[in-house]
């Protein structure tokens, strides 16, 4: 970094004095001229960093806390583990790849485009092998989709557990994918696409994570993707090629996709029997729960995003999504669900993609119980935790799409709570 950009001790003191004034009374009410305006600042006088300082740019140092984070004790080893997107600190809907959550079963692998092979076999006329370059020759599409781990909010079945939207709801990201429809590859191989067939997909990493997808979905909107947000997929998201299964649980979005097999039954792999199934109160379990139901969460204020400005005008903001289609409405409550107000959608979200909502409101400085409730274009209304527990018991791990509550105290600090 350029020497000139290191703040001098003097300018640091001046800066912190201004911050103290600002937080005490609000910058507008500061007595006397603000030194940040009145005094000539280094950055307004000396030159800055030239081009090529960072050929691939990273966020400025002031944002270095906006990173993926894990909770070590959740899993046995970081090689087979998960971390969380800092959704509390983001706005809009697109997740930058560099902070989009990761989940690996045997670690993220370095697989080059040259070494990449994709096989399609099983009930097909012509079993085929594609190289990476082959895939780029086929007609491709662009779509924005969310990818949510089925275990997102899973800890919270047991009650309020982790303090932060990043930790309770951060197993999600939303990117614009470029890829070839899976149906194109199936057609290329002359696959039997009758409705009782399945497509089994498998990764190239040591876990060779495999999932069975019913043919109807495979022919609908599944993509064999190689770009996200305009650039190559990151290693941790399956470079060079991953599967995108819109609206369905993240575990099916097989990374480092190496094989597609057309079968006449579900493989019933480990990830679709021993995992990603939920046990009801009576001991029976449900399986093949692929769709992620409508869900929302307030990202700010939230435990990692306290209100710092005191009473008055404020923005309550959050995210909503549905694996069934578009979000049509989000309601926000400030009193734990007694009264609801309909929030403003940042823009009409794409189908099976994140939608941003805002409630521009006044805070009276009193405690609040903040909640958001999403409604999708099937008319489905996001349930309360009580509704979910009544139906499924408390032994579920996956698919917790309950309404989340943050208690905000008079100081503006927020905490994860459960309410009556």
């Amino acid at each position: 970094m350029d020497e000139m950009f290191k703040p001098s001790r003097r300018s640091f003191l001046r800066g912190s004095a201004a911050v103290a004034v600002g937080s005490a009374a609000g910058a507008a009410a500061a007595e006397g001229p603000d030194p940040l305006i009145a005094d000539l600042q280094d950055w307004a006088s000396y030159t800055g960093v030239g081009v090529d300082e960072t050929p691939y740019g990273m966020p400025i140092s002031f944002e270095s806390h906006v990173v993926r984070r894990n909770v070590e004790w959740l899993t046995a080893s970081p090689i087979s583990s998960i971390n969380f997107t800092p959704i509390h600190a983001l706005d809009g809907t697109i997740t930058p790849q560099g902070c989009a959550f990761e989940r690996h079963h045997s670690g993220a692998i370095e697989l080059s485009k040259q070494d990449y092979r994709l096989m399609i076999n099983g009930l097909v006329d012509k079993p085929l092998v594609f190289t990476y370059d082959d895939i780029e020759r086929l007609p491709r599409e662009n779509h924005v989709y969310f990818c949510e781990c089925a275990a997102n909010t899973g800890m919270e079945w047991a009650g309020a557990q982790l303090n932060g939207a990043q930790f309770t709801h951060g197993m999600i990201h939303n990117m614009e994918y470029t890829g070839v429809p899976l149906r194109t590859l199936l057609s290329e191989a002359g696959a039997d696409t009758s409705s009782d067939k399945w497509v089994y997909v498998e990764g190239a990493d040591a876990s060779s994570n495999g999932r069975s997808i019913p043919m109807e979905k495979a022919l609908d909107d599944v993509l064999v993707a190689f770009k996200a947000n305009g650039e190559a997929l990151r290693m941790e998201h399956g470079y060079p090629v991953r599967l995108v299964v819109p609206g369905w649980e993240g575990n099916m979005w097989v990374k480092w996709l190496r094989r597609i097999e057309v079968t006449d039954m579900a493989v019933e792999s480990r990830e679709e029997t021993s995992k990603y199934t939920d046990v009801y109160e009576n001991g029976m379990a449900r399986k093949w729960t692929w769709v992620m139901d409508a869900k929302s969460v307030i990202t700010s204020p939230s435990p990692q995003m306290p209100i710092k400005h005191g009473p008055g005008q404020m923005v309550i903001s959050g995210l909503a999504w549905s694996g069934h289609g578009q979000i049509t409405r989000v309601d926000v409550s400030k009193d734990g669900g007694i009264t609801w107000e309909t929030a403003r959608l940042g823009k009409q979200g794409d189908t099976k993609a994140l939608t941003r909502f805002y409630l521009d409101t006044q805070w009276d400085g009193k405690p609040m119980l903040l909640q958001a409730r999403a409604i999708d274009d099937t008319g489905y209304v996001q349930p309360t935790k009580g509704q979910l527990r009544e139906r499924r018991g408390e032994n579920s791990v996956y698919h917790n799409n309950c309404i989340q509550t943050w208690y905000v105290d008079a100081e503006g600090n927020a905490e994860n709570v459960e309410v009556s």
Binding site: F62, H65, R68, R69, N70, V71, A76, I79, S80, S106, G107, M119, I120, P127, V129, D134, R137, L138, G159, A160, L162, N163, E188, G190, Y200, E202, S207, N209, G210, R259, M265, A266, V267, E268, S269, R270, V279, G283, M284, R286, K287, W288, P303, D331, G337, I338, T339, W340, K366, P367, R373, T378, Y380, N395, D409, E415, N416, V417, V419, S420
Partner: protein, 442 residues
């Protein structure tokens, strides 16, 4: 488009000016001779004005024409949008083939297509029993799953848990929960052992699966499991699953227009976050227990909160910490750096079981900080195999030569080691990983 008529205003204005000037000049009394000249000039000017006026009218007709064309283009675009016939069509649906990709060789398919279906289809020829499986399991699986498949630390428990599925904390093991035995074979053969996937033979896999069944008291140790009987083996929980019932049980019910006002009389907090999660500037997180009680919080009615709690000290000052820029580590530019970087990559083969760096703890294998120069088998609190305990007694020390020999062939250098790893084949890898390990002191 509203701008286009303005283009013609200067032309029309100019014409008017010329006509005005002409009449002004004609009205002056300069005598008959001059009148004639002036009349001629008036005629000329009138002619010019008429030409200019014609031009202006032609231009304004052109403007109207252009406006008409713009309106037509806009109407056509609006029609396309309203009929959704825009240009963002999906990729073409092919009925046939682009002829891309090459035929897969049957040998290739045989190597990659090893998944096993619930009825056993896809199983390779082979067999194994729990008696043989016990030894293989101890060697390759027990470091994570325990000698009796009971699970070590957070690693999966594979045995027991029968009749717990309806309990508060069900124990979901291969025996108590898995509906098909094919899943166990399929998963173990393709994805296990962790960090050494794809190295088991079919016979070893059958033996391991048999040992897991034996640990669950489902077979005796002489039962030969093979491609002939694995697919038809009935699991304890085979009827324990229903297919997704949300459409009937949930979607049909949770579609009512929700309440907006006076939806509840009163709301109170029933539970506060169990953990407070601190987010250190570098990465990761630290969880600390939250000792605050729900009783300290107000209840809510439509009138607002019942009281405003007195502020208590905030649990963390994480925001200030977050604002501090991360400290950059400076690397010395000696030639060791490249080797260390290469060693870091090689170490990926080890990291599933061994930890290094600040605060590294024993995992399935001992932590490796300060390994070179350390007495063998001497890490506190690690359960070593006998051969390492013996080495410690003898005071044998990990020097680079010993390490190189061990890493090349762990099981022959340390006969009886629990370490499942089969060894590093390349000498360069051994050198690199040794340098990498040396970069972590005590």
């Amino acid at each position: 488009m509203s701008k286009s008529p303005n283009i013609f205003i200067p032309a029309l204005g100019g014409t008017a000016l010329i006509i005005g000037l002409a009449y002004g000049i004609a009205s002056r009394d300069y005598g008959a001779g001059k009148i004639e000249i002036l009349e001629t000039r008036v005629q000329q000017v009138e002619a010019q004005a008429s030409v200019a006026s014609e031009k202006a009218s032609a231009e304004s007709e052109r403007a109207a024409e252009l406006e008409q064309m713009i309106a037509e283009v806009q109407a056509a675009a609006a029609e396309r949008v309203s009929s959704e016939a825009d240009l963002t069509t999906p990729a073409p649906r092919t009925g046939g083939s682009y002829g891309i990709g090459r035929a897969a060789h049957s040998e290739e398919i045989a190597v990659w297509d090893v998944d096993v279906l619930p009825n056993g289809r896809g199983l390779p020829v082979g067999s194994g029993n729990a008696f043989d499986g016990e030894e293989i399991f101890a060697d390759k699986c027990a470091s994570c799953h325990g000698d009796f498949a009971e699970g070590v630390d957070n690693w999966p428990v594979l045995a027991g848990g029968f009749d717990t599925l309806a309990d508060e904390d069900p124990v979901k093991t291969v025996g108590s929960y898995w509906p098909y035995l094919s899943t166990a074979y399929d998963y173990i053969y393709r994805s296990m052992p962790f960090g050494e996937a794809g190295t088991l033979t079919p016979d070893e896999t059958y033996a391991i699966v048999a040992y897991i069944l034996y640990s669950n008291d489902l077979i005796d140790d002489e039962f030969d499991l093979s491609q002939a009987n694995l697919g038809s083996f009935e699991m304890h929980n085979k009827d324990g699953f229903v297919v997704d019932d949300r459409p009937e049980q949930e979607y049909a019910k949770w579609r009512e227009e929700p309440c907006m006002e006076n939806c509840k009389e009163e709301v109170h907090v029933t539970m506060r976050s169990v953990f407070l999660v601190e987010t250190p500037p570098e990465s990761g997180s630290n969880s600390v227990m939250n000792h605050a009680s729900a009783e300290g919080l107000p209840s809510f009615t439509s009138e607002g909160p019942s009281f405003i709690p007195v502020a208590v000290a905030k649990p963390t000052k994480q925001d200030e910490a977050n604002a501090a820029p991360a400290v950059q580590e400076t690397e010395t530019e000696d030639e060791g750096v490249d080797l260390i970087a290469a060693g870091k990559k090689v170490f990926r083969k080890c990291q599933a079981c061994h930890k290094v760096g600040d605060g590294a703890k024993n995992a399935s294998g001992p932590q490796l900080n300060g390994l070179v120069g350390r007495t063998m088998g001497s890490t506190d609190d690690f359960k070593y195999s006998g051969v390492f305990l013996a080495a410690m007694e003898e005071g044998r020390v990990w020097d680079e030569a010993a390490l190189a020999e061990f890493l090349a062939k762990p099981k022959s250098y340390m006969k009886g080691t629990k370490m499942a790893f089969s060894g590093l084949k390349k000498e360069a890898d051994i050198t690199a990983v040794t340098e990498y390990l040396k970069s972590f002191g005590e």
